[in-house]
Symmetry: C2
Subunit: 367 residues, 2 copies
């Protein structure tokens, strides 16, 4: 009798079918599914059975339309090509697992304008919550986030002035601590190399400069910010579709930049690389030139990707808790959604200096 071949719609059972089968009202089914506590155990059992028999699955679009809210967790990352962010994503996806939330991913490609565009699109869809990478959004982006009317968590950095909650680590501190380690190990002419400078890279650079200054040392040379042309030239593998911005973390770029640094500052005795891929390249360039590591040159990277401890010599790096960061962000979001978030507005996950062979020419740092 019910739904005798409807003219429209697919054949899927609706909440009304479940209600009819269970002999209750549609709204009761709705409640039983969303908030079982509101429904008596008797009816709940009947409804559950009907749901199972009909293999009913609620229509998320209808739900979103009727309730003016979705279960979408909007996530903005600057790249899908860097392990750094895919690790975060993994944490986010794992955190979302088993909850009602659905991740909607936006790839800003390190472009603040693109971030604005994506954000505008997301905000209009009234997501449940938003996770954005970094703390240096454009004013327009920041305004949208402030007015989004939903939990907003910034990740992978720390600021004293978060939009709502920020969970990450201090890039400046990270840069400073690794540089201090290098200084402890007796390195005196330490170069910072980086293919391209994001806001977070800059912070790392500042930390490095602070440490140098505190030790009365000076920057031996500047080897950051390759020009756009240079980056593009290196992005020769057009075939693989590698976009230029990716090039700032290619090992081949590390080799190239190390050669350049040696030219500019022949007395160089250590390089602090803005990311691990560059560090890997520097290591191989040293191998190629017969330079001993860590005796002649110390090498440090950033992020502590999985290959760092398997290198020979093993490469020092700053371990950042990326997976944990993504997971923590989702946890915070979930608590914020149910109003039970008790954590502080600023969460510093910290970093760990992983001192390995590539910088240990004196044994462990003295405390």
């Amino acid at each position: 009798m019910r739904r005798p071949r409807k003219s429209r719609g697919d054949g899927r059972p609706t909440i009304a079918d479940v209600a009819a089968r269970a002999g209750v009202g549609a709204i009761t089914v709705s409640r039983a599914l969303r908030n079982p506590a509101q429904v008596s155990a008797t009816l709940r059992a009947l409804i559950d059975e009907a749901v199972r028999e009909l293999n009913y699955v609620p229509d998320l679009h209808a739900r979103a339309l009727a309730s003016t809210r979705t279960d979408v967790l909007a996530v903005l990352v600057p790249s899908l090509s860097h392990t750094v962010f895919t690790d975060v994503l993994r944490g986010i996806y794992d955190g979302v697992d088993g909850t009602k939330l659905h991740v909607q991913l936006g790839n800003t490609r390190f472009d603040p304008q693109e971030e604005e565009r994506l954000l505008a699109g997301f905000v209009r869809q009234k997501p449940s919550a938003i996770i954005v990478s970094g703390v240096d959004q454009t004013p327009a982006s920041r305004r949208m986030l402030e007015e989004a009317g939903c939990p907003v968590v910034q990740i992978m950095d720390v600021t004293d002035d978060p939009i709502q909650v920020v969970i990450g680590f201090r890039h400046r501190e990270a840069g400073r601590r690794m540089t201090e380690h290098l200084i402890q190990q007796g390195y005196r002419s330490i170069a910072f190399i980086s293919g391209w400078m994001s806001g977070r890279s800059l912070e790392r650079l500042y930390g490095y400069q602070e440490a140098l200054a505190a030790a009365g040392l000076s920057e031996p040379c500047k080897v950051h910010s390759l020009s756009k042309d240079e980056l593009t030239a290196l992005a020769s593998r057009a075939d693989s579709g590698v976009p230029p911005f990716l090039e700032f973390s290619r090992p081949s770029l590390g080799r190239e930049m190390f050669r350049r640094a040696k030219e500019l500052a022949p007395g160089l005795d250590a390089v602090f690389c803005n990311n691990d891929s560059l560090a890997l390249g520097v290591l191989f360039e040293c191998h190629a030139q017969g330079i001993r590591v860590p005796e002649d040159i110390g090498i440090a990277g950033f992020n502590d990707l999985d290959f760092m401890d398997a290198c020979y010599p093993s490469l020092s790096s700053v371990r950042t808790h990326r997976y944990r960061n993504g997971y923590a962000a989702v946890t915070a979001v979930r608590q914020m959604l149910q109003g039970s978030y008790e954590g502080p507005r600023v969460v510093d996950l910290g970093v760990e200096v992983m001192a390995r062979q590539s910088t240990l020419r004196r044994g462990p740092d003295r405390a």
Copy 2:
């Protein structure tokens, strides 16, 4: 007069607002937005203006509910931790850019059961199209895909029996060709090492075995499929939240497996690694043991990640067109959606053997 402070809903303008402002019917606005050709130029101009003035953005949920179809492109990948798949994703996201399609991502974690679950969820949401990785879906998954009633594209592999369209490359051929290259270079005791065997890895192994057999050579030892316990033991960095399955492509695993291979087959003169990370580990183990590459040992990897050509010596690998694969899949999907797909059901993107220093002990292969 219109919408005098509605009791529900957010304050966003609706299609009715636009219609009122432009002095036309709501349905005409709807048409003007989705298929401008159906509306006269006069009205179209009026409507466009109204849309701009009100800053109207259609509600995707309402649209989906009314039309029983979404603009969701469901994408299933086995991992978010392997460059291989994030490259594919990049291609997909780039391909989707500027279209109506929205990517909905599912991470199967290399688990066929999880793939089934995700697929069941996706299929119920009636996506516009589905992209799945690999061709070895479970029977249940395959059935769901066959009955999904939308374009389905399988990627990253090739089969003669695709669900609809498959775009990828032949892992067996890839394995065979790299092995042939090693044989050409005079290697005679070639081990295949792999941390864990997916269906695609197995194909690579078969290709390797075929090439050996064709040359009258035999497998010097078996070093694949670490036990689950062994993998778990290696996954000691619980802190970073690295799940065990990730471990099959860690460079440290490569070092470990190479040591094991040397034990099992002391006469070993080459290793073909199931992925580049393992190859990197093998290279470093050789450095550590003072083994010359490529003279004493030849090393080959798979996928040609960006660090391979920056190693010293540079590492040979099989280049796979991952980004292109993702992009091509989206292109096919879009054409299929508008009924203009003309390509074959089976698209082989091919692979390239990148012969570099780590296997070139005789100079370029003879034709």
